[in-house]
């Protein structure tokens, strides 16, 4: 029941917002098309400005992954994590989730295909994927867009949040779906 409501919300949210904003704007006499174009102009330059930062981040993460350095780190972590009820197949996701959204997405989908979304690993991967975001990507892109060079404690806070999300995911999935 709950999931039907939630999936309906996400299906209707965007159409509803667009309708509401354009509708109210038009009724209130805003020159909707001209104002839209003015705002949209910002979008182009913002995207172009981000190119160098995104390229730099993608190259660094890509190199780390393709060279096998990431697998090495995962290999070291694996024995510790399996002690606390994390299936081996999910361990790579812990490492990748904060780094790259696309890689994490690919990993989750691959895991669903191999083990099924309703397996224990599949449920845990779903929860991890849904409950945290690509910390490193968000931090670098958001800060880069306004020229911030010193992040102060933001990275530490983001990673602490990620660890908390992982721990909570392992706990709740074991609790709800574990044998």
């Amino acid at each position: 029941m709950l999931e039907v409501i939630f999936s309906q919300i996400s299906r209707w949210a965007i159409p509803f917002f667009v309708l509401l904003i354009v509708g109210v704007g038009f009724i209130r006499g805003v020159k909707v098309f001209e104002v839209f174009a003015e705002g949209a102009q910002e979008g182009f330059w913002l995207a172009v400005k981000l190119i160098p930062y995104i390229v730099g981040l993608f190259v660094a993460i890509g190199l780390f992954r393709d060279s096998g350095a990431l697998d090495l780190c995962i290999g070291i972590l694996q024995p510790f994590l399996s002690l606390v009820g994390v299936p081996g197949e999910v361990v790579p996701l812990f490492m990748v989730r904060p780094l790259s959204g696309m890689a994490a997405m690919a990993m989750t989908v691959e895991l669903f295909h191999r083990l099924g979304p309703d397996s224990f690993a599949g449920r845990l991967a779903s929860t991890i994927h849904g409950s945290t975001d690509t910390t490193l990507y968000i931090l670098s892109v958001y800060f880069a867009s306004v020229g911030i060079k010193r992040f102060r404690y933001a990275l530490t806070v983001g990673l602490i949040g990620d660890v908390a999300g992982f721990v909570a995911s392992v706990f709740i999935v074991n609790r709800m779906f574990g044998s």
Binding site: I21, V48, I51, P117
Partner: protein
Amino acid sequence: MNFIFAFFILTGIVVAAVRGDIQLVTQSVANAANHGVQQAIGFIGIMSFWLGLARIAQEAGLIKLLTGILEPVIRLLFPSIPRGHRAMGSVLMNISANIMGLGSAATPFGLKAMQELQELNREKETASEAMCTFLAVNTASVTLVPATIIAFRASTGSANPGEVVGPVIFATMCASLVALTADYMFRRRNRRRKD
């Protein structure tokens, strides 16, 4: 960030060399660089659309309305944003988009919020306290509707794609609470050091 960038690139090259697969480096770099440009270019359309829509919402007074209702919550989280400042509107739009799982709308609002927070920032190259809190909320991704993951589960044949909604909400609440607490503690420690 400089450390992470250097660490990833240097370790990547060293590991590739040790494994005797050094030509992989050239290929990986070219691939990733291309991918990066595609990602940024891919932003243009959706970013323009949402920023255009945000401008209409602003002119129509919708953002002011939303800020008025939720101002107490935002004031609690971001004490350094002055009352009625427009950064509040963008911060709110970003958080609401995240809550509803609308990632494509959240990013443009988030970047707009950063620009407006930067106007309030006194040291232009150093992150302000409000920015750190804002990113803590964003990286923990407070969400009630994990839309992407539900879609993936449905498309790979899950018997009950939505069954993870509960666990996701629980985990994301924990992550957000811990991140906000950590942010608060760092902020207080930094202030004390300055005094």
